[in-house]
């Protein structure tokens, strides 16, 4: 039987892959995508719990997470584009006038 624990374990694995991506990659765009992966993994947890508890609130929260993630992406990509115009790179290591 596929129980709630299977979904939660899958969510934990996806979340950790996202964390590893943020820690290992240096391309700002890929770091950003790894963060999106983390948020998606959390959404899976929310929906699994929502179903497990028989409570629709968890699903509502997922909608808010989606909206916020879209807003973050819009602002983040704008910042990356403005940096790219100035420096010609999206590599975080090269964006280091100040100490990182």
């Amino acid at each position: 039987m596929i129980g709630v624990s299977h979904y939660l374990a899958l969510s934990a694995i996806l979340f950790s892959i996202g964390v590893a991506g943020v820690l290992t990659r240096r391309n700002a765009l890929i770091i950003f995508m790894s963060i999106e992966l983390m948020l998606n993994a959390v959404n899976l947890s929310f929906i699994a719990f929502s179903r497990h508890l028989g409570d629709v609130d968890g699903q509502v929260f997922v909608l808010f997470v989606m909206a916020v993630a879209a807003a973050e992406v819009a602002v983040g990509l704008a910042i990356i584009i403005s940096i790219y115009r100035k420096r010609g790179t999206a590599n975080i290591d090269k964006v280091n006038i100040m100490k990182w």
Partner: protein
């Protein structure tokens, strides 16, 4: 399962809207500025600044004078309207007014004078207000994100300046990384307690006698998320870069009002939702407080850039605030009061210091270093005197607000039987005197090197903001009892 007939029980009534009039005022002024900005000519941002100040003053006044004393719920328990939240509303409005006054000249000089600057600033205040009144993890999340997204945009607002974009991207990537942890924590708490409502979560944890492992993991992840937002070590790495790269008034705003918002929501969640986990978060925060103070103060010692030095000092101050939270968690009433007292004092002195920095700055000039402040005491005596007052207060020298802030915190730690923590705190405060006084020494005792061009225009609103901060610090230093009473009345009805 909700059905169509249930909907009437959830729909808001007029009382719900009365309770959020401060937020609605901010929203109305925000949208008003957005539209009026179209009518004004391109260079006219001073009227927008005036409108923003008016809106913030209205919201702060309404919180402190009209709604003060109410203790109720709004919007299906999503918001808790009590003196605690209202106090923070007023604090955020005050901090934002100072930031607007300082910004008005700064953004013209830096060539980023756009009305939208104030729109986003008011958006940040709205997010803070949602955080401070949040009664559910859903509103906590929405408030934090409204604040964060506004600050990402403000940090990168000066896109002509490479450091500004760098600050914005670092803040955004680390901030959303932290949001991921916060959300995962919320998900686990939701899964184990079945609710987002912080009161229900608190009851559930208490009723079950203790936490299970998943609940504990969720609480730890939530704490990690908050620690990022409040720049507590070891999650503080973003703060120095972001404060240095962001526009100076915004850096001041981030280090004061935004930090106050993070502490407001942290303390509320800990004391309402997690008293059942007190043993666990006490141990965790105890360690965090010690390393935050030590890392902040030791790193600040070696900084040559004043903005960066203030960033590390703001990390250290966050460490002192955690001591107060720990004391409050042990049931020491003074602990909770000293959080609020310290946040008022810190907002005044840090906004003042950043105000002087931005008033003396000039476009494309490297005049934020300690060395560049040499001899300022003779060329700009008024600014130097104010800066000295702010730095002395930050260092905690009597009889300033900063002294009493630290005094109350360490006293509450001693009363809560945490004497080792109090001793570490006092030692840290002593170390901090060195780097604050280094700037004072440079201003008065060092020969100026080459002449550095500074802003020649005396812009009275910025001077007014610096004057207000200085007067506030002295008032708090002379009459600390009145302010601690205000803090007590804010805590009594709330948590």
């Amino acid at each position: 399962m909700p059905s169509l007939s249930d909907i009437q029980f959830y729909l808001p009534v007029s009382m719900d809207f009365v309770m959020i009039i401060p937020q609605l005022a901010i929203l109305a002024f925000m949208l008003g500025i957005l539209l009026l900005d179209l009518l004004f000519s391109d260079d006219e941002t001073r009227s927008t600044a005036a409108i923003a100040v008016l809106g913030l003053a209205c919201a702060g006044f309404y919180s402190l004078r009209v709604l003060w004393g109410s203790s109720s719920y709004a919007f299906n328990h999503l918001l808790l309207i009590d003196n605690y939240g209202l106090f923070f509303n007023a604090l955020f409005c005050g901090g934002a007014i100072l930031a607007v006054l300082i910004s008005a000249r700064y953004i013209e000089r830096e060539g980023m004078a756009l009305g939208e600057y104030y729109v986003i600033l008011l958006g940040a205040v709205l997010g803070m207000m949602i955080m401070a009144s949040a009664g559910s993890l859903i509103t906590v999340f929405v408030g934090i994100e409204t604040l964060s997204i506004s600050l990402y945009a403000l940090a990168g607002f000066n896109r002509e300046k490479p450091v500004s974009g760098e600050a914005a991207i670092k803040y955004l990537l680390l901030g959303s990384f932290a949001t991921g942890f916060l959300l995962y924590g919320i998900a686990l708490i939701y899964g184990t307690t079945g609710s987002f409502d912080i009161i229900t979560i608190g009851d559930h944890i208490k009723a079950h006698g203790g936490p299970d492992k998943v609940m504990l993991l969720g609480a730890v992840l939530i704490l990690i998320g908050f620690s990022f937002k409040a720049s507590l070590a070891p999650f503080h790495m973003w703060a120095p870069d972001v404060y240095q790269g962001a526009p100076t008034p915004i850096a001041g705003f981030m280090s004061t009002a935004a930090k106050a918002a993070a502490f407001a929501v942290l303390f509320r969640v800990l004391s309402i939702a997690m008293p059942g986990l007190h043993k666990h978060w006490h141990a965790l925060l105890y360690v965090i407080a010690i390393i935050t103070m030590i890392i902040g103060n030791l790193s600040a010692l070696g900084q040559g850039n004043i903005k960066r030095m203030l960033a590390y000092s703001s990390i250290a101050h966050a460490g002192y605030l955690v001591i107060a939270i720990l004391a409050a968690g042990r049931g020491e009433a003074l602990g909770a009061q000293s959080i609020l007292f310290y946040l008022i004092a810190y907002t005044l002195m840090n906004m003042g210091a950043f105000g002087v920095l931005s008033a003396l700055a000039r476009r494309n000039q490297n005049n934020e270093t300690v060395d560049s402040f040499a001899g300022i005491g003779y060329r700009h005596p008024a600014y130097a005197a104010a800066m000295t007052l702010f730095l002395v207060s930050l260092a905690g020298v009597p009889p300033t607000a900063g002294f009493f802030g630290k005094f109350y915190i360490f006293l509450s730690a001693v009363r809560a039987d945490m004497i080792p923590l109090a001793i570490i705190g006092v030692l840290n405060a002593v170390v901090s005197v060195f780097y604050y006084l280094r700037v004072v020494v440079a201003m008065y005792m060092q020969e100026p090197g080459e002449e550095i061009e500074r802003d020649k225009i005396l812009w009275w609103p910025a001077a007014l903001a610096i004057g207000i901060s200085a007067a506030g610090i002295i008032a708090m230093g002379l009459l600390p009892g009145r302010f601690i009473n205000l803090a007590a009345s804010a805590i009594l009805s709330g948590i």
